[in-house]
Amino acid sequence: MTNIPETGRTPRVQIRLVIVQILVLSLLGTLGGRLWYLQIRNGAQYAKEASGNHVQQVVQPAVRGDILDARGVPLADNETRLVVSASRTELLKMKDDGKAVLTKLAGILDMKPQDVMDKVRLCDAKTPQPCWNGSPYQPIPITDEATPRQALQLRERSEDFPGITAEPEAVRRYPSPGNANTAQVLGYLSPVTDDEIQRAKDTDSPYLRSDQVGRSGLERQYDRILRGKAGVTRYEVDNLGRVIGKAKSDVAEPGSKLITSIDARVQAVAEYELNEAMKAARSQFDKITGENYKADSGAVVVMEAKTGHIVAMASNPTYDPNVWVGGISARDYKKLTGKDSDYPLLNRAIQGQSAPGSTFKVVSTAAAVEAGYDFDGNYPCTSSYSVGSQVFKNFEGENFGPISLGRALEVSCDTVFYGLADNEWKKDGGINPKKGQPKDYFYKAAHQFGLGKTTGIDLPNEVTGRVPDRQWKQKYWEANKDAWCRTGNKDGDYVQKIAYENCLEGNKMREGDAINYSIGQGDTLVTPIQEAVIYSAISNGGTLWNPSIGKAVVSPDGKKVTEIKPESHGRAPIDKKTRDVMEEALAGVVTRGTAAWKFGGWPQDKIPLHAKTGTAEVYGKQTTSWLSTYSKDYAVVMTISQAGTGSGASGQAIHNIYDALYGVQKDGSIDKKKALLYTPQKDLPKIQPDGSIVAPKIEKYDPNADKADGQDQQGTPTDNPSATAPSPTASNRTRRRTDRPRKRRRILT
């Protein structure tokens, strides 16, 4: 059998049969090779594709945690809205891909059918918004503003609306209790981007497609805590999306609640008073520029002096944070961020920086004491201070004779500080310092007070401000010298002259720089929050607290309360004795100094207030007003850009804020019952056994209810600010103004 019998076949057929056999074998070999290529060589890749194929996840969003004020009043919470959603998988099972159902639905919701269909289409490169960029297995929201009547109709006729659901869902809301808007502090949410999903993919808190992410303020700072964990159910599905098994299921965990130190009532007062102060400033005439003050932006901070807790923080111009809820429209977004907007998203309390003017003198005073000058010594407060050809004038050319540092603070005498700073500059070796470190007491003190770096407040994107010391000057010069040397002109206009001088020796600490610096002018920049930290430190004996807004995190069930302990970032360079004498001087500012005309009737014997006014001139703009104050428990700092003097612009507003805090009545008596926060709120709000926090009722702030007397003092015609400024050859970009009522306007020399 095995021998090949003689077939008598012609060779042609025999050869062809062999060819066929070879052909058949090679075909089979091709199949085997291809099979090897797919299964062995690329098997892992296909296995991955297969696993992605059959698992789909459905997300139940976690309810975001509330942000509460110090007494439990919600500043940000969630409201239940009726959300109508459509299930794509259900719709696609219909013959017309659900068109008929969506058209009917549009009729009930009073929407255009095309709008409804656009909302349920999937986003891709070619599809413009609106479209759905989430998982196609997720119910797609069509509207979150359904009325109960509409929802009822949909439910009653559910057989007519297969795949359509109307469910209550939690939507973020910013209720503004008692008109405390708190917009910039709270921040806002917006949907997560593809990029963020990619980056967070392998971290321990990955984003889901449907997530909203905190973009600024507390919403961003505490995003992880507030976000909670979305519930994810992973289903094994077949090719039609039919569920054939549940792979994994995590229940949604709501986010934790954040209790802040903000007091909604004080916040409302601060916002109102800031806005009123700015309105009032706009009605004041600025004789230097010949037009009314612009008062284009401002900020106020109320901080607990002994802990750093922020009681109120307002920034103006402001906006309604609810515009972000449910997706912001392009027009609204442009209004908030566009080039011609007034940038209301900026929190100017931590992101606005300007020269501090005379409020900086507390730093210079501390520096002088550090440098060995006796606080109670006698320093000449002359009408002007001359260095070579430059003349640095005291405001109004007043001459107080020899006075102590305390008195110099009280009357804000510039020439005293000019002299001290100039002395130290000379001791350090002048423009070319001696070998070895120059002592730089005045700059060191600024750093020791925490200037030039962030305060560490629990808000994102805080700015550092600036201390124009030698290192900074060198760096700044290196960055700008090319431009300066190009545009500089010895005989040109003011800007060209300054550029010329900066080109020559902008990297060096010049005498004029040191002198200007001592009274908070020149290149120095501080933020309102830094001022609040400094004045709190004077109040509390020297501790520089990190300002904090978050006070405690409460787990969703209320069982776990994690307090956020205040932290300090060092001590101010003042010993107890210096502090005490400085405090006395700052109290003098309120009783008989530059701010006295705004604090008439204040019960200073019962509640001692301390203040320092400041007016910084910005080249090409109107002056920036500063008023930094503190009591035993609080520091209150207000600044308004282009608004004139510190006391003139902010005096009444800060007075009113203290009235509200301490319950000071019109007649100067104190009604502790009406006081909003006679002492700082220490305890956390009471947490109910079910984890909820009952908020006390809030009454709207009525500024006229118990306003202190002395309204007539406001805007007195004697409030004529003017400037003493170095001669134009001085190279500072900002010049200084005193904020004392003046009789006569001085022409710049």
């Binding site: 049969l17 066929v20 199949l31 797919l38 062995i40 296909y46």
Partner: protein, 399 residues
């Protein structure tokens, strides 16, 4: 060749006659080609497991009975086996005499498809549906009758010793005989079957010893025909789409390309040893359409892996290898031609079917011989196995 003949030769006692008759030298059983038989049976059994895996969850087609397709597949294989035995019993030579009748019946069958009796399934109008869920694809049987008919014509004068090769006239007649049913099947249109038939005709001509001119002429005509079909829009849109999707599966991933890419994912994810029978996620999730029929190989790829899917190719290889031997060893040209026709049919159909699931051939609705679910195909391939066995068994004992 007969039982009596064997008996007289054996010399064993009559009580052992039955055994010895079966296993005696030159007995029918000993002369059967067992590798082909066992491979075909193994393929059918593997097929039943794969068909079961692919259909147990498809409630929309299995009428709620997970074993619906398994039972029917095994029944089909059983009937096919019986048809094979019947074919051996009749013998291919007997069938040669019946060719005109068989040819007529199959021609009638394919014509019936074009009448209202025919049914369209998956775009192919190649079914005759009888009552009671019983249906047939006449085109499957036509493949057999084309082979038998052409072999009869081409071998007649050569086997009679008149000629060394079939003359041009005979070749032309044979081609005409094949062309009629092929044209009808093209009208259905069942492109896959047409392709198989054309390749089969080519195999038949090769084995017949027809002049090279015919071979190349046919190849040339095929190429011209393909261009003409393309240019004259004879093909329907979906058929062009299928072709385009093979060339570029990502062209239309949710449409035609979906089948191929899902099948490829299923096979690729199998790896070396597969996910295990009934454990393939692609199969369980029914991501691959037509998985019990045209794409049955993807079940093997995913659940049995390279080892199992490779085994199917090897078993098909055994069948084809042995068939080649049969074709070469038989003395009659008639047997050679029939065997070669079957080889061309099986080889191309298997290559096309597996090739399309692997993404190297365009998608055409063709079952994988023995493995795919489908009665007509199963019957036809087992009849073909019967013909191969018959050619081998009835080969003259010695020259």
């Amino acid at each position: 060749m007969t039982g009596a003949n064997n008996f007289s030769v054996s010399g064993y006692g009559p009580e052992r006659a039955r055994w010895t008759r079966v296993f005696a030298r030159d007995s029918l059983a000993r002369r059967l080609d067992w590798p082909i038989l066992l491979s075909a049976a193994a393929l059918s059994l593997i097929g039943s497991a794969l068909v079961y895996s692919a259909t147990r969850g498809r409630t929309e087609i299995n009428q709620g009975d997970p074993y619906y397709f398994l039972v029917r597949h095994l029944m089909n294989a059983g009937i096919g086996f019986a048809l094979m035995i019947g074919t051996i019993w009749l013998g291919h030579r007997t069938l040669r005499n019946a060719v005109p009748i068989l040819y007529g019946i199959s021609l009638l069958g394919v014509l019936l498809v074009l009448t209202p009796l025919g049914a369209t399934i998956n775009g192919n109008r190649n079914w005759i549906v009888f009552g009671g869920g019983f249906s047939l694809q006449p085109s499957e049987f036509t493949k057999v009758t084309i082979i038998l008919g052409m072999a009869m014509l081409l071998a007649a004068r050569v086997d009679a010793g008149d000629k060394e090769y079939p003359d041009h006239r005979t070749v032309a007649q044979a081609l005409g005989l094949a062309a009629v049913p092929i044209a009808i099947v093209l009208l259905m249109p069942d492109l896959g079957s047409v392709m198989v038939m054309v390749i089969t005709v080519l195999g038949v001509l090769l084995a017949s010893g027809a002049s090279n001119r015919w071979i190349f002429g046919l190849l040339g005509a095929g190429a011209v025909g393909a261009v003409a079909v393309w240019q004259l829009h004879v093909l329907d849109e979906y058929q062009i789409n299928r072709f385009a999707a093979f060339a570029n599966p990502s062209l239309d991933p949710s449409g035609v390309g979906y089948n191929t890419s899902q099948a490829r994912i299923a096979i690729g994810s199998g790896g070396l040893t597969g996910a295990g029978l009934f454990h393939g996620s692609q199969t369980t999730g029914q991501f691959v359409p037509e998985q019990q029929t045209d794409f049955v190989f993807s079940v093997a790829g995913e659940e049995l892996g390279f080892v199992g899917a490779g085994l199917i190719i090897v078993l098909l290889g055994v069948v084809l290898w042995r068939a080649c031997r049969i074709a070469r060893e038989t003395t009659e040209l008639y047997g050679t031609i029939v065997a070669a026709g079957i080889i061309a049919w099986f080889a191309f159909q298997a290559f096309e079917n597996i090739g399309m699931t692997l993404g190297i051939m365009p998608v055409a609705g063709l079952p994988l011989p023995f493995v795919s679910y489908g009665g007509s195909s199963m019957f036809a391939v087992w009849i073909a196995v019967g013909l191969l066995q018959s050619i081998r068994v009835q080969r003259p004992m010695s020259a």
